[in-house]
């Protein structure tokens, strides 16, 4: 009997050991420098939080296509629920040296992960990318954006016509038509929302709360400039003006009877069923609408008018999204680099981007605009595009110190007893203190 217990102990140790080996297997064997053997045997890992991309990776067989170049390389693609979850996991993995070979970043997160990413400025992919340079950190291209993204207000043309409202050209008009729509349809349908938002999730507020401060004067470096000031929330600053306007807007009731009670998914699906006249989202929203098989002949879009009068320019923030980089945890740097080149080459990128709603970021690849997006160019006048920057390391540090969480702030603006002046005062004070340290 004693023996069996010892065996048990041995068994469990062996088990430990075996699972340990299994873990190493998923990594790779060869560490090749310089010349890359096309017969190299390895696994490349990367993750995404875009469900549509995930579907396309399977549908268009990204692994098979890459295997035409490197037949013994397999790809392992991890799917995450959303960007929050994705970056939470990546932070833990970074400190343990377990980042995937290839990593996607957002413009906001790039600064945080800078020390884990290789410079890609000498790749063809970076050279042919329109936006990559705009997001370089200290002259190094750490991520190559695969999607060009701007935010739209999607709307049902027939609802606008029935209620007798036009596409708004200024912020005030935007507020006014929302009120009109809410009055017109809300009378019969108490669940109606002029704008479907889903503020419970907080992030859906970003087209306003994140974009408006820089959108008033079209300054893509707005966050970085804020990091250079002691009291950037003072009266008269763009962010102060913008957040007052948003705060007032959120109090008008045009987001339905309980905007904080609903997540984005629910709100957006109500918009799809015409329970709302408008919804704000990036092109990803249109992909969702189309994948539900909804008739889009009545669907149009316009750009959010941050301006005060029609004579001003309508500044449209454009951002690169899903910035593909190579992490320093990879044991197959050369191969990963080959993969990045492949990803943005004709062997993959054109087919892939044409199936996504987002616009191409590559000089070499043109994409036909969907009629829904074309309508935005028609509906909005005097549009000036600028590249939006999510904030450099300096800004991120101040955000951490002062707990300045603009998405949460946006959600709080829906609360009746929220006092925006108090918040500005406190932020000014904390900001100054944090800068001194």
């Amino acid at each position: 009997m004693r023996k069996s217990n010892i065996y048990l102990g041995i068994f469990s140790l062996v088990f430990l050991f075996l699972s340990g080996c299994a873990g190493n297997e998923t990594k790779n064997e060869t560490k090749n420098e310089g010349e890359l053997d096309s017969n190299i045997k390895a696994t490349l890992t990367f993750g995404t939080w875009d469900a549509d991309s995930m579907k396309l990776y399977e549908e268009l067989d990204i692994e098979g296509r890459f295997q035409e170049l490197y037949p013994n390389v397999s790809l392992e693609i991890e799917e995450m629920k959303d960007d929050t979850e994705y970056f939470n996991a990546m932070k833990i993995r970074a400190s343990a040296g377990e980042l995937p070979d290839i990593m996607f970043n957002e413009t906001v997160t790039l600064a945080n992960f800078a020390e884990y990413l290789y410079d890609l400025s000498d790749t063809e992919a970076a050279k042919n990318n329109i936006l990559a340079d705009g997001y370089s950190v200290d002259g190094e291209v750490l991520g190559i954006p695969e999607k060009r993204q701007e935010e739209y207000v999607f709307f049902w043309r027939d609802q606008f016509e029935e209620a007798g409202v036009d596409v708004p050209q200024t912020w005030n008009e935007f507020v006014e038509i929302s009120k009109k729509l809410q009055e017109y349809y809300g009378a019969d349908n108490k669940d109606y929302m002029a704008i479907a938002l889903g503020a419970k999730d907080e992030w859906p507020i970003y087209p306003l709360i994140e974009n408006m401060p820089s959108g008033i004067s079209g300054n893509g470096q707005y966050w970085n400039d804020m990091a250079k000031q002691d009291t950037p929330f003072e009266e008269g600053t763009d962010i102060n003006i913008a957040y007052h306007k948003i705060n007032d807007f959120f109090k008008t009731g045009v987001f339905g009877k309980d905007p904080l009670g609903m997540g984005y998914d629910q709100a957006f699906s109500i918009f799809m069923q015409k329970g709302a006249a408008m919804a704000m989202d990036s092109p990803i929203g249109l992909t969702a609408i189309k994948s539900e098989g909804i008739d889009t002949s009545n669907l149009e879009s316009f750009y959010i008018p941050f301006r005060e009068s029609e004579d001003d320019s309508l500044y449209l923030p454009v951002r690169g999204d899903f910035l593909m980089g190579i992490t320093k945890n990879t044991e197959n740097y050369e191969l990963a680099k080959e993969f990045v080149e492949f990803y943005f080459s004709d062997a993959w990128y054109p087919d892939y981007i044409s199936k996504l709603a987002s616009a191409s970021t590559m000089e070499t690849v043109d994409k036909e605009l969907d009629p829904v997006f074309e309508s935005a160019e028609r509906n909005s006048s005097n549009v000036v595009v600028y590249t939006y920057n999510g904030g450099d390391a300096e800004f991120q540090k101040l955000v951490t110190e002062t707990r300045f969480d603009y998405k949460k702030l946006g959600a709080q603006m829906f609360e009746p007893d929220f006092n925006i002046e108090d918040v500005f005062t406190k932020l000014n004070k904390d900001w100054k203190k944090a800068r001194q340290e």
């Binding site: 392992e76 629920k81 343990a96 377990e98 629910q266």
Partner: protein
């Protein structure tokens, strides 16, 4: 008269309890049989007309290609961790309960500490350990964590062993039995009710845990039922009827374990904690 009234009151309370518990579950079940249109036209509290009931949502869930592997992964994790939990738990509890030795207090304190530590933030430091052992992104990661850190089995087994008269050990010892034999032939069989309890509670906990598999096994091949449900939910973009079907499907394993072992639960979910 009073007796009749009391009996009546008992039934009223029972029915209330049942309604509160079953109600929300029925809503989920009803929803899972609805089409998108029903979601707007039919009250959430009712089933659609019988002829209009759809199984489309379930077809959708079952056609998801990760569901099967999620079942398999979960089953594997549960079986292996339960096996070691039972072996290690019972023998550790026996050793700590029956013997006195120098390090005993320290070891007991350490195990107690293990129950106090908040799991979520500690994963940051635990992650490094898992990573350096090469367990990251393998089924080994959650298994070893469940074996090493969730220690309620000790609590249950110790209380139970307390209830077994020590004379049993002593007489066996006098008969010339070794400790291993005493443990495996006498003590362990007597722990059967506690073991059954453990099987239920632990497998339910493990199947329902989402945080550890989510953190340590991002690979799509390594989804468990809980992480499957999470990523499935986000991919549905608000189609609550499909999500409801997924919730029902994910409930099936724990529900069957429950029905199968139910008898033992009532004999002693805490039988161990009770018999002193």
């Amino acid at each position: 008269m009073k007796k009749v009234f009391m009996q009546g009151l008992k039934y009223v309370i029972s029915i209330l309890i049942i309604l509160v518990i079953i109600g929300p579950l029925l809503v989920v079940l009803f929803t899972s049989f609805k089409t998108k249109e029903h979601m707007v036209t039919v009250s959430p509290l009712l089933l659609p007309d019988f002829s209009e009931i759809t199984l489309e949502n379930y077809r959708d869930v079952f056609s998801s290609k990760y569901l099967l592997s999620a079942f398999k992964n979960t089953a594997f994790i549960v079986l292996v961790s339960l096996f070691f939990n039972i072996i290690f738990g019972s023998i550790t509890a026996y050793a700590l309960e029956r013997f006195h030795f120098k390090l005993k207090r320290i070891i007991v304190a350490l195990f107690f500490l293990g129950m106090m530590i908040p799991t979520f933030v500690m994963e940051i430091s635990r992650f490094k350990v898992i990573g350096s052992l090469g367990l990251y992104n393998t089924l080994g990661a959650p298994i070893i964590i469940y074996i090493a850190s969730d220690l309620m089995q000790l609590y249950i087994y110790r209380q139970f062993i307390k209830g077994i008269p020590i004379e049993l050990d002593e007489s066996a010892l006098l008969d010339g039995c070794g400790y291993y034999r005493i443990f495996s032939k006498i003590i362990f069989p007597l722990l059967a009710p506690a073991t059954a309890t453990l099987v239920i509670i632990k497998s339910v906990n493990i199947i329902n845990d989402m945080y550890i598999p989510y953190l340590y096994m991002p690979s799509t091949r390594l989804k468990t039922l809980s992480t499957f449900l999470m990523s499935y939910a986000s991919a549905q973009q608000g189609s609550w009827q499909i999500l409801a079907a997924a919730i029902v499907v994910v409930m099936i394993p724990t529900l069957s374990i429950y029905i199968f072992f139910q008898k033992y639960i009532f004999e002693g979910v805490s039988a161990g904690a009770v018999k002193s």
